[in-house]
Subunit: 144 residues, 2 copies
DNA sequence: GTTACACACGTGCATTTACACACATCAAGA
DNA sequence: TCTTGATGTGTGTAAATGCACGTGTGTAAC
């Protein structure tokens, strides 16, 4: 029963593929000390410094409370900082110089992981997969 | 910056789509008291009763230790049982009658989630997505 | 038979994920 | 002004995920 089972379940495959890909990227990123989740968040913040927690959560399509906790390790490492927002409620999250440097250092490892995916699946298949995943995120109903 | 960002990163999209789909299925399955991970494990065990922990982990392409812990909630609920294997090392995990009944009860909710995905993406796209995800799991290198 | 290696499993630790709930703050209206 | 509702955030709880490490068990080589 060892070989991965084939069920007609979409989420089953999505989760399995996400696990596999996460392991692949994590191993490539290991020398940088970052996981793929932290790398991705850092990258998002690099392009959108000063975002609020809610804004980041929406951008990455995850729960607000998840984002709050995902910020913690990066703050502890000094790679990002969460200061006052334009409101007294909101917080403004910015990438630090150390964060930008860490991101720059990790980029080659991420590129190697990307290359591994491209080599394994082929350029056209990767593009197609991206399109279908984008469609899934765009079209799948968000349960209230 | 709210709209989901588009980066040329495969794992980024896989994880985002997996999050979205997990929420969708979890909400549909909520009346059954099961999450999609527990439902999937129960389904796998239903078709492969008596599997070892390692066998289950390999079948779902996840770490052994993750599988060990994923069994705990289902055991606590009495839906599965972990007894002695053919070895004194291995354990044999079986689905209980209560587990089979719970699975049967949850099936309609799962089918509703499947239908929601099909309605949102279209039958052909779902089939294509499945094929690409299967290829990803089959071909992506497993880091040692 | 003993020794070495491989196999099966669990635990400690850290992270990622989400829901329910509570709290503070802002904006608009009575 | 006071109240009411919307907004931004954090915390408690629970689960899922993987790595490093340790333990017990089987197997084969010597």
């Amino acid at each position: 029963m060892n070989p991965p089972i084939k069920l007609p379940c979409t989420v089953y495959r999505l989760r399995m593929a996400a696990r596999r890909a996460t392991r692949l990227y994590d191993h490539h990123l290991a020398p940088s000390g970052l996981g793929i989740a932290q790398f991705g968040l850092l990258q998002t913040l690099s392009a959108n410094s000063g975002s609020t927690v809610t804004g980041l959560a929406a951008a990455l399509d995850m729960d607000r409370s998840t984002m709050t906790r995902n910020l913690v390790p990066l703050i502890r490492l000094g790679l990002i900082k969460a200061g006052d927002g334009h409101d007294r409620r909101s917080r403004s999250v910015v990438i630090t110089d150390a964060g930008a440097a860490k991101l720059k250092q990790a980029l080659p490892y991420w590129r190697a992981a990307q290359a591994a995916v491209r080599d394994a699946l082929g350029e056209a298949e990767v593009a197609h997969l991206h399109a279908l995943l984008d469609a899934a995120v765009a079209d799948l109903p968000e349960p209230t």
